[in-house]
Symmetry: C2
Amino acid sequence: MNAAVIVAGGSGERSGLAGGKQLASIAGEPVLAHTLRAVAGCGLIDHIVVVAHPDRVAEYRQTAVAPVAPQQPVEIVGGGATRQLSVAAGLAAVPSDAELIAVHDGARPLITPDVITDAIEALGADPTVDGVVVGHPAYDTIKVVDADGRVMRTADRATLWIAQTPQVFRASALRRAYASAAAGGLEGTDDAALVEAAGGTVLMVPGPRDNIKVTVPEDLTLVERALAERGRVRG
Amino acid sequence: MNAAVIVAGGSGERSGLAGGKQLASIAGEPVLAHTLRAVAGCGLIDHIVVVAHPDRVAEYRQTAVAPVAPQQPVEIVGGGATRQLSVAAGLAAVPSDAELIAVHDGARPLITPDVITDAIEALGADPTVDGVVVGHPAYDTIKVVDADGRVMRTADRATLWIAQTPQVFRASALRRAYASAAAGGLEGTDDAALVEAAGGTVLMVPGPRDNIKVTVPEDLTLVERALAERGRVRG
C-alpha cells in the first residue's frame, strides 16, 4: 500500500493570512480541503496522514477533512516547530506496511491526482531510484551571491530545477533518511535533500506550471481562478 | 546623464498572447506602456531607448509610447533575433555621454520608479561595483540535475538569488561586456552575466516580490489587479 503525508502544520504567520494559510478560504473551502481532495482522488494512495497545526487538530478535521470525505482512511496529527519535524510526525503515523510515501505541501492546492499518479509510477518504474520530485526547470537567471550580495557567478541554468511537491519516496529510504537527519542534526530544505544526504538517488519529473504554494493573500485569488478554469469550482 | 534601454523586441510567440505580450492590453493600455510609464517616472533617467519588434516599430510608437508621452526623449529601434542582439541594438542608440545605463524588460510592467531609483543610487554609491541587479533570494529548493533528470545535489539556497530587471550598469562596463561577448560568441542569460564574464563586479539588490515578467495570458489579470491595488488604474 501507498501513503501520503500532507504537510499543513505551518502557522502561516508569514503569509498575512489571518488564521493561517491552510484554512484560508478559496471558493468557500479551505486551501487544505482542495489539496486533500486532489490527493484523495489519486487511486494509488491508500492512506492519508494530514499534519495539522498542533493546537488546531479538531478545527482542521471539521473544516478541511470532513467536508472532503475521502474514501481512504485519514489520520490527523499535530505538527512540530519546523517543517522537518512536522513531516517526521506524519511519518510516525504512516502504517508500517506502506511501500511508497508521497509527501505534499497542504498549501499547494492546484496539484492534480494525475500528477501524483505520474510521480508514483515514475518511482515504480525505476528500481534504481529512491525518490521522485515534481518540479520544473529554472525559468529565471540564478546568481550565486556572497554574504555581501556580490555576484560570485551566474549559475548554469540548464542544470537547475525548482523542486516542489509532491515528492514520492520508497518508505524505507525516507524513514532511514529522517532517522539519519534527526541523529545528525541535519536540516534539509525539502524531503529529497535528506534522502540525497543519506546517499539516496532522486529523480526530478516535470510538473505543471501552476503548482504554486499559497504564500501571500493574492495567491488565493490566483488559485481560485485556476480552479474555476478547470471547472472544479464555479467561476 | 543616465539612459534606460527597455527590451521589448521579443515576438512573444511562446506566450500564447496574440500579437505578442508587449502590446497585450492591461486596463486598456499595452503592457509596454505601463512599463514605459514607470521608467519615465524615474527622475534619474534622462533618455529612453525602446527596443521594439523589428517589423512593428511604428505600431509600438503609436500604441505604447505616444500615449505615455514621457518627458524624456524616447527612441524606438528594432530588435534582433535574440534578447542579447536586441539589447545590443538598444545600446547602439544610447547617447555616447550616458554614464549609467539601466536595462529593463518591457514585459515587467509592475516595476516602479522608486525601484529603478534605488538601483541607480546603489550603483552610484559604490565605485567598486560595475552593475546592480534587482532580484530576490531564492524561495524554493533548487536542485542541480544531470541530463537524465537525476539530482546531483541540492543547491545551497542561502547563496542563490533570482535575477530580474532592472539591471543598471556603468555605460563603459556594459558596452565593453557586449563588445567582448559579440567578439567571443558568448551568450548570456542576462546582461549582468556578460559583465561578469568580462570581469566586472555585480551587486544584487532586493526588489519587490511582484516584479513578474508577463509570460502567459493569466499574468495579465495578475498585473491588472496589482496595478488596481496601487491606484494606478481603476480597479
